[in-house]
Every structure is written in structure tokens, then in C-alpha cells.
């Protein structure tokens, strides 16, 4: 085993931290929270120039051809700095599945446009039932001539208001179990019949309702195979969840650091509050949790990177991330006392994202169920071995 970062990874980490600290300080994060678009297209272009969007895309599409693990390292830095940008939807939710499932023409066109920062993509998956189960996919799809017609409503679609294209998950067949009969479409966001509305979330993180009214999509815009779209969704759920964990990990690291610093500085009863055991133990617990999350996330990511099936580890990592991110933020706020309750404190920017991170690509209930299903199918080690 080796817990070290590679040279590439150290370079990515350092460069990302430097760039984000300079280009995206917290007053920028606050400004963008109130901004209409919610991100800065200029910064976006600079990120593309640094090769971030194409980090793990092959060189033939203008990428750098690095590995999944390297993207994890980058996401962690983005989480630490709270980068408000459609990076996660564009790269994690769209570029990765298109690279895996796209036709040669689709990859050629789309991936280079993503790599050079020209286009923003997002995934329109969840609906009113707000679940990541296949049964939640109800968006109707009909074939009319050479076109598909899409009708229905998608909810909590990140950055749809800014997207050029959407990956839309629709129901193409009612037969069989819900996972069969789902298809993924690449849809031009400017197609007639699409209506987008930003949902007012506490985090102001630009999740949208997208309504489709007989939206025409040409046949060649199917991603992968018709009725086999759930495989793609499963792929996105797994790859995306670990990237979300990395982002959340970066957040918890920052919160632990800030809170620890504050505990050393803040004097009450003539002592730093960090000298009270109640506070020390809380911080110690935070450290246990954050380090646990860090290596569980890296472990899951490493398995994905190595191409080893890792559904169990992925769900463990997201379950852990959901718990730890929330706990760390809540304790961080409380250790700060009243100042932790204000918008002035950077920590609040992390806290206000607890719910959107938790519900992105599966909450605790969803992933615990997946873990339990895996456990059920595993043969315990002691069975069949002589004792």
C-alpha cells in the first residue's frame, strides 16, 4: 500500500489551491451567490485553459489524459474553496459518461467543446419524486418520424439555466422492471419547448426545474443504446458520487482547519476555548471523522481508477461523506458560538451547502440500502472455511 499522492497529483493540488485562492476568494464566492448566472464565465475559461475540464479526457479531444484519481484530487480542492461553477455537472455528470458511452461522432464533437471550456453540460435526472431510483423516471418519450419527443419535468437539475446541453434521462418503455426502458438523450438546451426555472435553495447553488413540452430530439442524439440508459445512470451515480465525496472532503478539511484555528484564538474565561476538554474532544472527534472520510474516499476512488467493481465502497464513501460533512459543519458552527451563526463567517458558506451535497447522487438512505444489498449477497468469510 502507498498513501502518497503522485507527483502529478501534488502538482494539480498545488496549482488548484493557488488558482482558487487567487481567483475565487470567499468574497467572490459570496458575490456569485447573488449573481444571476451563479458563476464567472471568465474564471471558467481560465479553468479550461489550465486544462481542468479536460483533465481526464484523452488528448485527441483536447484533454490531458490523466486518470480518475487525479480528478478526485482536483475536486477536493474545489470543495475546499467552494468553487461555484458548473464543473461537477459538466465534467462528472456528463463528460465521463459521454467518454464511456458516446459514439465516435458524439465524443469528437462534445468532448472537445467541454475540454476547451466552450460548452456547459448538465444532467437532468431526478423528477418530482426526488429519488435516484429508476422508478422515479417518468419523463415521457415518443418516437415521431426520425425524432423523439420528450415531455415531462425534471427537478433539481444543477446549473440548467446556464447549460448549453442537457443529458436527459427519459422513459422509453413501460415494460419490465423500471431499470429497463430508460434512455439517455443529449438535448440542446435551446430547443423549443424547454422551460427552465431556478429553484430558490438555501445554498443559492442554482438547481433548476426544467420543463419539457414535446421537445424534439433527433435520433442520433441518443447516448448509448435505447432502453439501456439505466446502465449509464448507474455509471454516473458511481463515478459522480465519489467525486462529490472528494468535494465534500475538501469542505470538511477546511471547516476543521478554521474551527481548530478559532479554538486556539478565541479567549473566554482567560483561556483559549480549545483548552476546554468539551471543545477539544469535539475537535478530536472531527479529526477522526475527517481522516476516515479522506481515506475511504481515496480507497473508493482508487478502485474505480483501477477498474475494480466497487459499488460497495462507493456507497460507503457517500454515506460517510453525508454524515461527516454535516457533523463537521454543525460542530464547527457551535464551536464558533454566535459568530458561527452569521453570514460573515466563511464557515457558514460550507454549512449552507450541507443539504445540497447530501442529496446530490444519493442520501444516506439510498446508499445504506445499496450497502445492505451487497452485504446480503456476500458469503461471510467464515462460512465454508473450517473453524
Amino acid at each position: 500500500m502507498d498513501f502518497d499522492f503522485s507527483e502529478d497529483q501534488i502538482m494539480i493540488k498545488d496549482a488548484a489551491r493557488k488558482f482558487l485562492e487567487k481567483e475565487c476568494p470567499k468574497d467572490m464566492v459570496r458575490k456569485l451567490k447573488e449573481d444571476k448566472l451563479g458563476y464567472d464565465p471568465l474564471m471558467w475559461q481560465k479553468m479550461a485553459d489550465l486544462g481542468w475540464m479536460g483533465l481526464i479526457l484523452p488528448e485527441e479531444y483536447g484533454g490531458t489524459g490523466l486518470a480518475y484519481m487525479d480528478l478526485v484530487v482536483l475536486m477536493e480542492e474545489m470543495g475546499r474553496n467552494l468553487l461555484p461553477a458548473p464543473f461537477f455537472p459538466t465534467v462528472a455528470l456528463c463528460a465521463l459518461p459521454i467518454l464511456e458511452y458516446g459514439s465516435a461522432e458524439q465524443k469528437e464533437k462534445i468532448l472537445s467543446e467541454i475540454a476547451n471550456g466552450e460548452k456547459v453540460y448538465t444532467l437532468a435526472l431526478t423528477e418530482g419524486s426526488a429519488t435516484y431510483e429508476a422508478s422515479g423516471i417518468e419523463l415521457c418519450v415518443y418516437l415521431e418520424g426520425d425524432d423523439y419527443l420528450l415531455s415531462g419535468t425534471k427537478l433539481f437539475v444543477p446549473y440548467a439555466h446556464a447549460a448549453d446541453y442537457l443529458l436527459v434521462v427519459g422513459r422509453t418503455s413501460q415494460k419490465g422492471n423500471p431499470e429497463e426502458g430508460v434512455t439517455v438523450f443529449i438535448v440542446d438546451a435551446k430547443s423549443p419547448g424547454i422551460d427552465t426555472e431556478v429553484i430558490p435553495t438555501a445554498a443559492h447553488d442554482r438547481q433548476c426545474e426544467v420543463r419539457f413540452d414535446r421537445v424534439k430530439v433527433p435520433r442520433e442524439n441518443v447516448l448509448g443504446e435505447v432502453n439501456k440508459g439505466w446502465d449509464i445512470v448507474e455509471f454516473i451515480l458511481q463515478r459522480g458520487a465519489v467525486l462529490k465525496c472528494a468535494e465534500m472532503l475538501g469542505g470538511t478539511e477546511a471547516v476543521l482547519e478554521m474551527t481548530n484555528n478559532y479554538a486556539k484564538e478565541r479567549i473566554q474565561f482567560d483561556k483559549p476555548i480549545g483548552s476546554f476538554q468539551a471543545i477539544q474532544h469535539k475537535l478530536a472527534q472531527m479529526l477522526i471523522e475527517v481522516e476516515g472520510l479522506r481515506y475511504l474516499t481515496y480507497e473508493a476512488a482508487w478502485h474505480i481508477n483501477a477498474g475494480i467493481p466497487s459499488k460497495l465502497l462507493i456507497s460507503m464513501a457517500k454515506t460517510k461523506a453525508n454524515e461527516v460533512y454535516q457533523r463537521t459543519c454543525l460542530d464547527g458552527v457551535k464551536i464558533h458560538g454566535a459568530v458561527g451563526f452569521t453570514e460573515e463567517l466563511d464557515l457558514s458558506l460550507y454549512f449552507i451547502r450541507t443539504k445540497s451535497s447530501e442529496f446530490s447522487l444519493g442520501d444516506g438512505g439510498f446508499h445504506r440500502e445499496r450497502i445492505a444489498c451487497e452485504l446480503e449477497q456476500l458469503q461471510p468469510l467464515f462460512i465454508g472455511n473450517c473453524l
Binding site: A130, F269, I273, T342, E343, S356
Partner: protein, 399 residues
């Protein structure tokens, strides 16, 4: 033993339910800490204060001569619980008017102050609204560390200094202010006094502090050569610390009844939501809600025990702290379970409660985003735990 409320309290509960039905808009569901935030919500709260005053409920446990009804502690508890369950706003007269300014004045105030202020609070009118200014930038948990000073000059005090986190200062007519009157006292607990300040006085400046969810709850308050009549001193000069321990006891004691009423309402809303959305059959959800029911019933019975001790004439020492921490813990679990139940819909901005995506009128997300505030205010969990350890368990002082 007897674990039933009397007929008098049950009758009062029925009357409050009737009142809530008549006076609150249909489908009313209060959200945590929203009262002081917007002018609209504040206006409505004040209207309700007036109506509660007319009913004689606002300050029901005060003596008749000061605008009360001489109601028992049990009636007071039933009222607090019901008012919180139905979400009747305007019960507090700002921060502390009803719950601790009035009771402290009755204990320590001069006849003149009692005659002036108690009826004002009891009237439910804007001139009876209070804020409470204890905390300063360097005096939070270590409240005795305050520096704001009041220097006596003939028949006036001249006040200078800064307070912080002063809730409702932007709504209040009066300030219940903790100051240092003896700058040379050997220990920091000595030399503290309580003085009443008219918020309209020259030299008082209120600056808003905004919460991370966008709420305007608390403020900074600056005192710049503010002159108040020396008769505004509450109780004895330099006796403030002793008096304030009583006020803080009243403050912490007011949490439990209201807390269990409000928590119960949120639980009921969640149960109903789970039923309507076919979630109630899921074992995991059933059990989480069942756990909450256990906690809230425990909270209710503990609150009753505190009242029972008080009704027997004993002065509770650690019980208000116990009930306060317990309420914070319940609010936290309820917020986490509630947001889990609403799932993605719990991400909504609590200030956009009318949005079409909002469930349960936003009360669950408001609880989630704001419970850390109630857990910190009036003494953090750690401070309350210290009190329980030191005074409830007689352990050595730990800090």
C-alpha cells in the same frame, strides 16, 4: 403521584385552540426565529400580542395589579405549550419582556419601575417590547467579562460601550442592559449592574448582523455617552451578577414548555407528511419518528417536573439548564430527521417559504438552518452542561 393536568389547564388549552383557529390564517405554521426578521411578520406578531393581552394570556402568571391574572405555573406551562404548538406569534414582547424582564422587575425593581414597565409589557403594545443586551465581543460564555460601563453623574448614568448579538434590538423600545458600574471591583463578577435604557435615547446606534440564511435576527448595539435617569437602575448597584443569575434562570426556564410544544408540532407535521407520501410504512422512517416521540414526551415530562418543583416553592438550580440542553438536542435530531424525510425538498431557502417547491411551509428547513442559533443563545450546550455538572452533580468546577 398524579400525571394529569387539571381541568383548569384543559379548559385553557381548549380556549387557546379556539383562539388559534379564529385568529391565525388558515393552514398557519410558524417557522423558527422568523418573527423579528421581516416587517410583515413583525407587524403580525404585534397584532397577536395585542390580542393575547386582551385575553389576559400574555402575562397570565403576573399578579393582577401588574396586568396579569395570577395564573398558576401549570396554567402558564399549558399556555406556553399550546401557543408554541399552534405557532401563535407575539408571545414574547421581543426578547425577554414577558419571560424575564417582567419577572426580574417583580423580584428586584423599584416600585416606580414596576408601575411603569409591567403594565406596558402586559398591554401587548409596541412600547412594551424589549431587547436584552448582555453579550459583548469579548464576553460571550464568559459573560462577567463585560466592559460596557455606566458611570453615575448626579441623577444620571452615562453609558458607553458595545453590545453584540442583541436580538430584536431593531424592534425594541426598551433595552435590558448589563453594565459595569464599578470599574475597580477586584473580581469581574462584582461591579455589574442592570439598567433599563430607552432605545430612543440619544447615542444608541443599532447595526444589523445578518444570519447565514439571510435572517435579520440580531444586531450590534453601540452606546455612545447615552444618558439615562439613575432611577432606571434595577435593584442595587453592583448587585447585577446575582440578579442576572435569576434572569438567566427565567430565560432558560422559558425554553422547555415552548420547546416541547413546537417540537411536537414539527413531529406531527412529519408524521402526517410521511403518511401522505407513503413513507410511513418504511420501517426505518417509522422508527426514527418513534424515537422522536420518545424524546419529546421525555422533554414534556421533564418540563413538568421543573414546574412541579417550582410549584412546591423550591428554586430550581440545574433543571432549567437540563431542560434547555435537552431541547437543543431534540431540535437538532428533529431537524436532521426532518430534512432526511423531505429529502431533496429540504434544500429550499427558508426565506422563500411561499415557493411552489417548498414542503410543510418551510418549517423543517427553517428548523435545520436555525436550530444552531437557539442552541448557542442563552448559554451554549457546553456552558449548560458545566452548570449541570457543577450544581446538579456537585462536581468540581471544570474551567
Amino acid at each position: 403521584m398524579d400525571f394529569k393536568f387539571g381541568e383548569k389547564e384543559e379548559q385553557l388549552r381548549r380556549e387557546i385552540r379556539e383562539f388559534a383557529k379564529e385568529e391565525l390564517p388558515p393552514g398557519w405554521l410558524a417557522a423558527m426565529l422568523e418573527e423579528e426578521n421581516s416587517d410583515e411578520d413583525w407587524g403580525f406578531a404585534m397584532t397577536m400580542s395585542g390580542k393575547l393581552a386582551e385575553k389576559g394570556w400574555l402575562t397570565m402568571s403576573w399578579p393582577v395589579e401588574y396586568g396579569g391574572k395570577g395564573a398558576s405555573l401549570w396554567e402558564q406551562l399549558a399556555y406556553s405549550e399550546e401557543a408554541a404548538y399552534w405557532g401563535i406569534p407575539g408571545v414574547g414582547m421581543g426578547i425577554g419582556g414577558v419571560d424575564w424582564v417582567g419577572p426580574s422587575l417583580m423580584m428586584f425593581g423599584s416600585e416606580e419601575l414596576k408601575k411603569k414597565h409591567l403594565p406596558l409589557i402586559a398591554s401587548g403594545k409596541p412600547d412594551g417590547v424589549w431587547c436584552t443586551a448582555y453579550s459583548e465581543p469579548n464576553a460571550g460564555s464568559d459573560f462577567a467579562n463585560i466592559r460596557t460601563s455606566a458611570i453615575r453623574e448626579k441623577d444620571e448614568y452615562i453609558i458607553n460601550g458595545q453590545k453584540i448579538w442583541t436580538s430584536a434590538a431593531h424592534r425594541a423600545r426598551w433595552c435590558w442592559l448589563a453594565v459595569r458600574t464599578d470599574l475597580n471591583a477586584p473580581k469581574k463578577h462584582q461591579g455589574i449592574s442592570v439598567i433599563i435604557v430607552d432605545m430612543k435615547s440619544k447615542g444608541v446606534t443599532v447595526r444589523p448582523l445578518i444570519n447565514y440564511a439571510g435572517y435579520h435576527i440580531f444586531n450590534e448595539v453601540f452606546f455612545d455617552d447615552v444618558r439615562v435617569p439613575s432611577t432606571n437602575l434595577v435593584g442595587k448597584e453592583n448587585n447585577g451578577w446575582y440578579q442576572l443569575m435569576h434572569s438567566l434562570g427565567f430565560e432558560r426556564g422559558s425554553v422547555a414548555g415552548r420547546g416541547c410544544g413546537y417540537n411536537r408540532r414539527i413531529l406531527d407535521e412529519l408524521v402526517q407528511y410521511a403518511k401522505e407520501n407513503h413513507l410511513f410504512r418504511e420501517k426505518e422512517i417509522r422508527h426514527k419518528l418513534a424515537d422522536m416521540a420518545v424524546l419529546i414526551e421525555t422533554q414534556r415530562i421533564l418540563a413538568c417536573e421543573t414546574i412541579w418543583k417550582m410549584s412546591k416553592g423550591s428554586n430550581p438550580v440545574y433543571e432549567p439548564s437540563r431542560d434547555k440542553v435537552f431541547n437543543d438536542q431534540i431540535a437538532e435530531r428533529l431537524a436532521i430527521i426532518g430534512t432526511g424525510l423531505l429529502g431533496m425538498y429540504s434544500q429550499m431557502d427558508p426565506l422563500q417559504r411561499k415557493s411552489k417547491w417548498t414542503k410543510l411551509k418551510g418549517c423543517v428547513e427553517a428548523l435545520y438552518w436555525l436550530f444552531p442559533g437557539i442552541a448557542i443563545a442563552a448559554g451554549t450546550d457546553e456552558v449548560e452542561m458545566n452548570i449541570i455538572g457543577q450544581f446538579g452533580l456537585k462536581l468540581p468546577k471544570s474551567y
